[in-house]
């Protein structure tokens, strides 16, 4: 145990001083703080937009228009539509133009995202609306403009047919509606769940890779020759995994702590995602502990397998190909967990159970379900139990393969031969 702790401490401190760790941590923290800062800026920016919209009850003067739109009507059926367009797009100046003039302005549109052209032509006996903008991101909103013009056209036809203005107004009015979901899932739980699943996958992969690299470096630099006479292979493997795991927890914990502080201090209280306020009510202490447990178990499982990958290579450049089987398992498991989480209603219950029970995928499937409250306690108990048993088995197998591989150089040792070899 003392040896394990010595190796763990050395691995932890060695990793902590590495430039890669320091830079990765700094970049991640800057990104988190930056993201929260941008959210705060957008929040304050949208507030001023609302004020601007409230203030535009009166028509802006020519100097206040932020964009312009040339309006050419070959059909003569949209003479009154300019006012409707102006009302719908108060910051855009609509300028009447002929078809020839409209064609002439196309070059200006190509160079300036604030200029648009609406050209209505006759096609098959009906008006056809051509809207020309620089690209789909700039200029006038095409769908809104087409909607305004269509309503104006229909309104004129109905008016010509003798229908009174009040009835026409009623026909064209859109009925109000609301959407209400009756399930437990809410957008906050969903968004945070997806983010957490990705974070766990990233952490499990990244720190597992760290374990493999650390062991491969010790082997290829021949430090292992010295190490192996001082400590048992099992102590080295477990100590390494623990050290890297602690490093991961430190980075992961730091990331979450900085995220929480940034969220509290920077993100506006009324911040919403798709109109819904962000809520952390799903993060109960029990949920947080279980998520942490799944992160730790998931990390241990993949780290132990990665340590075997690190022990099998003789050259450091072979590490990626050696890790490929574990990477493929982790990717497939991540997608199984992720897809059965985000498409809960669409995926079969059997696939759901598989994702929860399978030790490879449960670290990626269960945290999402914990946050969205749709996992029975019995499933949770089976999942954790299976995971622990599987980790014990895979660790025992890995130690055996590791012991045989770690001093083997040259031609790659087959896993079966490594397992069966007398060491």
């Amino acid at each position: 145990m003392k040896q394990i702790m010595t190796i763990c401490k050395f691995t932890f401190l060695d990793g902590l001083r590495k430039k890669a760790f320091i830079i990765t941590t700094a970049v991640m923290l800057i990104l988190v703080v930056g993201f929260c800062g941008v959210t705060a800026l957008i929040g304050s920016g949208s507030g001023s937009d609302e004020t601007a919209q409230e203030d535009t009850a009166s028509q802006p003067s020519a100097s206040e228009y932020s964009s312009k739109c040339y309006f050419a009507d070959d059909t003569g059926k949209f003479a009154d539509s300019t006012a409707a367009l102006q009302s719908a797009f108060p910051t855009t100046e609509f300028i009447a133009a002929t078809a020839q003039e409209a064609d002439g302005y196309k070059e200006s549109v190509a160079n300036d995202g604030n200029i648009s052209i609406i050209h209505i032509i006759e096609q098959d006996g009906k008006p056809f609306i051509q809207i020309i903008t620089k690209d789909f991101m700039s200029g006038i909103s095409t769908s809104d403009a087409a909607d305004v013009l269509t309503k104006s056209y229909v309104s004129d036809i109905l008016s010509d047919a003798g229908m009174d203005a009040a009835t026409i107004g009623l026909i064209q009015e859109e009925l109000p509606y609301s959407v209400e979901t009756m399930g437990d899932m809410n957008l906050s739980g969903f968004a945070i769940g997806v983010l957490l699943t990705m974070l766990i996958f990233f952490a499990v992969y990244y720190y597992g890779y760290g374990v493999a690299m650390s062991i491969a470096t010790e082997k290829t630099s021949r430090v292992m020759e010295t190490l192996i006479v001082s400590a048992k292979p099992s102590s080295i493997l477990i100590g390494k995994c623990l050290g890297m795991g602690l490093l991961g927890l430190l980075q992961f914990g730091g990331l979450i702590a900085v995220s929480a502080v940034s969220y509290i201090t920077l993100v506006p209280g009324d911040f919403t995602i798709m109109g819904m306020p962000l809520s952390f009510s799903a993060f109960t202490p029990a949920t947080a502990v279980l998520i942490l447990l799944y992160f730790i178990l998931g990390y241990i499982l993949y780290a132990v397998m990665n340590s075997v990958c690190g022990a099998t290579v003789s050259k450091i450049e072979d590490i990626n190909s050696a890790m490929m089987p574990v990477v493929l398992i982790s990717l497939a498991s991540f997608y199984l967990g992720y897809m059965t989480s985000i498409t809960a209603s669409g995926s079969s219950s059997m696939l759901q159970k598989l994702a929860i029970y399978l030790p490879f995928s449960s670290p990626f499937a269960v945290p999402f379900k914990l946050l969205n409250g749709d996992i029975p306690a019995s499933d949770l108990a089976i999942s954790i139990g299976l995971m622990i048993v599987f980790i014990i088995v895979i660790t025992a197998v890995s130690i055996r393969i590791y012991s045989a591989s770690v001093l083997h150089y040259g031609k790659k040792l087959k896993l079966k031969d490594a397992y069966n070899s007398k060491i």
Binding site: K2, Q3, T6, I7, F10, D14, E218, S221, R222, V223, M224, E225, T226, L227, I228, V229, S230, A231, K232, L407, K422, I423
Partner: protein, 298 residues
């Protein structure tokens, strides 16, 4: 205390790396483990230390089987390996603690050996900043830091310049005088000849010669004659059927069949008015014995 290695056999697939190897060390000193590349020296050491399990045979220290936990041994592998990015003192403390030392005593011993091997100034430098020879000294300290009774040194002199080799020689003598049991593998026959009382010669896993070096050499008798002489003595040597063994800058070594042959040659030299500055009748060198034994096997 005694080290006993009995009938060790280790195979890898169809290849026998160590074939029925036995030897014993009943008193402190330096034991030579000699062999060509791939002779099975490293596998032998790994089997003795319990890093590898032999197919058969045993290695015991004071009658008990050797394992990582049962004995305080030190092993300096042939392939040097230290943490290049880590500071020298820090990694020595780490290796010491892995061998069960407290941090304090590991540090004390590390500093003691750093000073003894004249690299104390590098204690706070990353190992990558040190020369190859000094890195090797760090490796040696990591082997000795926990004051083991049994020490295995695999090619300890390779890569050392003459000054550093001298420092290591002094340390070996000191360890020997402290009553340590040292098993040394080396290709440098002169070094083995100088320090090892007993030895074993391996080739392709097989023992071709083992025992006390003095007795082995005595068994060959006086077979070599070294003559240091400024004059040309080749014609006189030819008259006595002396076979040239090696021509060096200031001396010549001949093969002889016995003392009488050498004495007759000396008499002729003196009668010719040639007075050699060196005239040494001796047993064959370990190098010759090695080449003869290993060559015959191959």
């Amino acid at each position: 205390m005694s080290l006993r290695v009995e009938h060790i056999v280790k195979t890898f697939g169809t290849k026998t790396a160590v074939n029925d190897l036995s030897f014993a060390m009943d008193e402190p000193g330096i034991f030579g483990l000699i062999g060509t590349n791939g002779a099975g020296k490293t596998t032998t050491i790994r089997c003795i230390l319990g890093i590898m399990t032999p197919d058969s045979g045993t290695a015991s220290w004071n009658g008990s089987r050797i394992t990582r936990d049962s004995l305080s041994f030190g092993y300096m592998p042939e392939e040097r390996g230290i943490y290049m990015k880590t500071k020298v003192l820090e990694q020595l403390i780490y290796f010491g603690m892995l061998r069960g030392m407290s941090k304090h005593s590991a540090k004390q011993n590390a500093l003691k050996y750093l000073e003894k091997l004249q690299i104390l100034e590098y204690k706070d430098s990353p190992a990558e900043k040190l020369s190859k020879g000094n890195q090797q000294k760090v490796q040696l300290i990591s082997t000795l830091i926990h004051e083991p009774d049994l020490i295995f040194l695999d090619e300890p002199f390779s890569g050392l310049d003459p000054l550093n080799a001298e420092v290591l020689r002094d340390l070996l003598v000191e360890l020997k005088n402290l009553g340590k049991y040292i098993v040394m593998s080396s290709h440098q026959m002169a070094v083995v000849e100088e320090y090892c009382k007993d030895l074993i010669i391996l080739t392709r896993g097989k023992t071709v010669l083992s025992g006390n070096l003095s007795r082995i050499k005595a068994g060959y008798g006086h077979t070599n004659l070294v003559v240091g002489c400024p004059q040309d003595i080749s014609q006189i040597a030819a008259r006595h059927d002396l076979k040239l063994h090696e021509q060096r800058a200031n001396e010549t070594e001949y093969k002889i069949t016995g003392d009488e042959m050498a004495n007759g040659f000396l008499k002729d030299l003196l009668d010719s008015g040639i007075y050699p500055v060196k005239f040494e009748i001796k047993e064959p060198s370990l190098q010759e014995i090695f080449i003869e034994k290993v060559g015959a096997e191959q």
